[in-house]
């Protein structure tokens, strides 16, 4: 049996483990370890006396992965972003944001729903948690919308869709993870997410206004806020804007030549601002301790998947499976764009069954090299490439597309998680109600993804400015 066959068998075993409910981090680590033992033993000609030697080499190879891969300066961005998220919970940012957005925007048709979208976008971006954001706003925003006569399904759809804006607008832990796995510039990826994220929020906003203008009873405007009230609501929302802007400025400074620092520093300054705000808002030791514990938990979970998958990747390197998969993909007699669309659709299906982080980490080691090969290789120039962009730009573009797909899955019938969550939090709404309400946003998202595929410039404009 050659190494590629071993690679295929072990990967099939990994899939069985994952589907039958083994924790992804450990399933990947186990597959990697078993694969390493198998490959080394095969090299020794399956000699029973040398099995012990193969096992020892495999265990020592796998055993150095956790420390050597985790002790990295770039990876420190992930816990910092997570800390921002948990501190944001205690800084009272949700209600403050919603209140500010409401006072400024609620006067347009469907204005309260547009406010909800902007508030969820801001909070989801900073907290990085799509599902939790939908759960929280289902409690805050839906009752307010219903009290002024909004359609129930529409209100639920708005909240479910709003939560999906978490992963693109900086700070985004998932984009950091992508950048690390595919070894690309973290700063440029964070920058690249901003326009597509803001673009999605604006599309949602325009869609809501359009629906509210056509169907007058769906989302009536709310008036009566004075300018004084409007300005009074602004300070509460400032930390969110500050965090997003600071992270962008630490990667690319629009006001001068040099960026302010590294993304890690930007994340830390952002966390510090939210921390101060939480202190002012009344966070004390019990809340602070709980924020630290939650941060530690989510961080340990994400890092476990990272090193687990990297053990598997170490094995894949020996088996040369990614190379074989790339060769197969590029030998297909289909246009590269069609293959890319098929890959994105496969993510749409997979994302319904699995958390975005687990899905990306498990699939990227094999899929990413294939996509790069489709474009013409890591070092290809824009003129010679299949998608009309250089290798590094293709890596950024593909990253934004898969992360957007993962978010899209959260509102895709029949198992979009955000819709189940909104229905779970609101006993007066059935899952069908939420899915019906979210349909316009689902269609808008599909169109947004099509636009991002057709016009990569939307994604690549900011990173190209950063040089």
């Amino acid at each position: 049996m050659d190494t590629i066959e071993i690679g295929l068998w072990v990967t099939a075993g990994l899939l069985v483990l994952v589907v039958t409910g083994m924790r992804v981090a450990f399933a990947a680590g186990l597959a990697g370890l078993v694969g390493l033992v198998w490959i080394f033993w095969a090299k020794f000609g399956y000699d029973p006396e040398r099995f012990g030697k193969a096992l020892t080499v495999a265990v020592k190879t796998a055993g150095q992965v956790p420390h050597s891969k985790v002790a990295s300066h770039t990876l420190s961005l992930i816990p910092t972003f997570i800390l921002i998220g948990y501190l944001a919970y205690y800084a009272g940012l949700t209600r403050a944001l919603f209140e500010a957005a409401k006072r400024w925007i609620a006067w347009v048709p469907g204005g309260l729903a547009v406010s909800t979208i902007f508030a969820t976008a801001g909070f989801a971006a900073v907290s990085g948690a799509s599902v939790a954001t939908s759960a929280v706003f289902a409690r805050i925003a839906i009752p307010e919308m219903l009290s002024v006569g909004y359609n129930k399904r529409f209100a639920a759809g708005v909240v479910a869709a709003g939560g999906t804006l978490a992963s693109l607008i900086p700070p985004s832990a998932i984009l950091v993870i992508y950048a690390i796995i595919v070894e690309q510039d973290v700063g440029k990826l964070l920058l690249a997410g901003f326009i597509p994220g803001a673009f999605s929020a604006v599309i949602y906003g325009l869609l809501i206004v359009g629906i509210a203008v056509v169907f007058k009873s769906v989302g009536p405007p709310v008036t009566g806020f004075s300018w004084k009230q409007r300005f009074a609501a602004l300070p509460g929302a400032l930390p969110i804007v500050a965090v997003i802007l600071i992270i962008i400025c630490f990667v690319y400074n629009p006001f001068g030549d040099k960026a302010w620092g590294t993304p890690t520093e930007g994340g830390a300054i952002g966390a510090f601002i939210v921390f101060c705000f939480a202190l002012v808002h009344g966070m004390r030791w019990p809340e602070f301790k709980s924020a630290l514990l939650e941060t530690a938990k989510l961080t340990a979970m994400i890092f476990a998947i990272i090193w687990g998958v990297l053990i598997y990747v170490r094995f894949l390197g020996f088996a040369d499976l990614p190379g074989a998969f790339s060769d197969w993909i590029t030998s297909l007699e289909m246009s590269p764009m069609l293959i890319l669309i098929c890959i994105l659709l496969a993510y749409a299906v997979l994302g319904m069954f699995m958390d975005a982080i687990g899905m990306l980490l498990l699939t990227l080691p094999v899929v990413y090299p294939a996509v790069m090969a489709l474009n013409g290789g890591e070092t290809v120039s824009a003129a010679e490439s299949a998608f009309g962009m250089s290798g590094p730009m293709c890596a950024i573009w593909f990253g934004i597309l898969v992360v957007k797909m993962a978010e899209f899955c959260l509102i895709t019938p029949p198992i979009g998680l955000n819709c189940f969550v909104v229905a779970g939090v609101r006993p007066d709404l059935s899952v069908q109600d939420v899915f019906k309400g979210v349909t316009p946003f689902f269609i808008a998202d599909a169109l947004t993804i099509a636009l991002l595929v057709a016009f990569p410039g939307i994604v690549l404009y900011l990173p190209s400015l950063a040089g």
Binding site: V70, A132, A135, V421
Partner: protein, 209 residues
């Protein structure tokens, strides 16, 4: 956000052990949380030092690299206790009773096997950089200011050993549930659907604010 605690407790010996280990796990997770906070403070000091005093923090990157294993590993067992590690539960959430406990038992046994191997592997990784006869017991050190690397490497086998202890308890818990055909076993995480989890999270959040 990470999963919500759904572990039942009673007065049995297993549950008391679970509780004892939980105390250790919580302390380790808290240390990890403080390390994240320390990372933030370090970066703020470094940025303000560089911009305000033109004096960057010496060895800033070295310290971060030393702190990362603290952050990445120490909470791992605490997450396993609550069943917070990501998994695909589309198949397993449809199972009930003995079938469910059997699947969970096999899965936890396999994880235990992996982690025992990784305790061995990560220990030998540590062992290569540790030497009693060398200065600071260290055979290798960080690039910029020369901090010994062995303490950071030691964290992996320590955290993985605690995880192994947790897994042994879970093997016991699921094994007991399987043999006795229990409906609500103690000391193991029970599956909660996403909506219930989110509702609990939103509840918790509303109490806080």
């Amino acid at each position: 956000m990470a999963g919500h605690a759904t572990v039942l407790e009673d007065n049995s010996f297993l549950s008391r052990l679970d509780h004892r280990l939980l105390r250790l796990e919580r302390i380790m997770a808290l240390i990890s949380g403080f390390a994240v906070f320390g990372l933030m403070v370090l970066a703020v000091v470094s940025v303000s030092g560089r911009n305000a005093l033109n004096a960057p923090l010496p060895g800033y990157v070295d310290w971060i690299e030393q702190a990362m294993p603290l952050i990445a590993f120490l909470g791992i067992s605490y997450v396993q206790r609550d069943g917070g590690h990501i998994r695909m539960d589309i198949v397993i959430s449809r199972l009930k009773g003995r079938a469910l406990w059997l699947f969970e038992l096999i899965s936890v046994l396999l994880i235990l096997l992996l982690m025992l191997a990784l305790v061995w592997g990560s220990w030998s990784h540590f062992d290569r950089s540790f030497d009693f006869s060398a200065p600071l017991w260290s055979r290798d050190s960080s690039i910029d200011i020369g901090i010994p690397i062995w303490p950071a490497k030691l964290l992996a086998p320590i955290a993985f050993s605690v995880l192994c202890a947790r897994l042994v308890l879970q093997v016991w818990g699921y094994g007991r549930a399987f043999v006795l055909g229990l409906e609500h076993p103690v000391a193991v995480p029970l599956i909660q659907d996403a909506a219930a989890q989110a509702a609990a999270e939103a509840d918790q959040f509303e109490r806080r604010t």
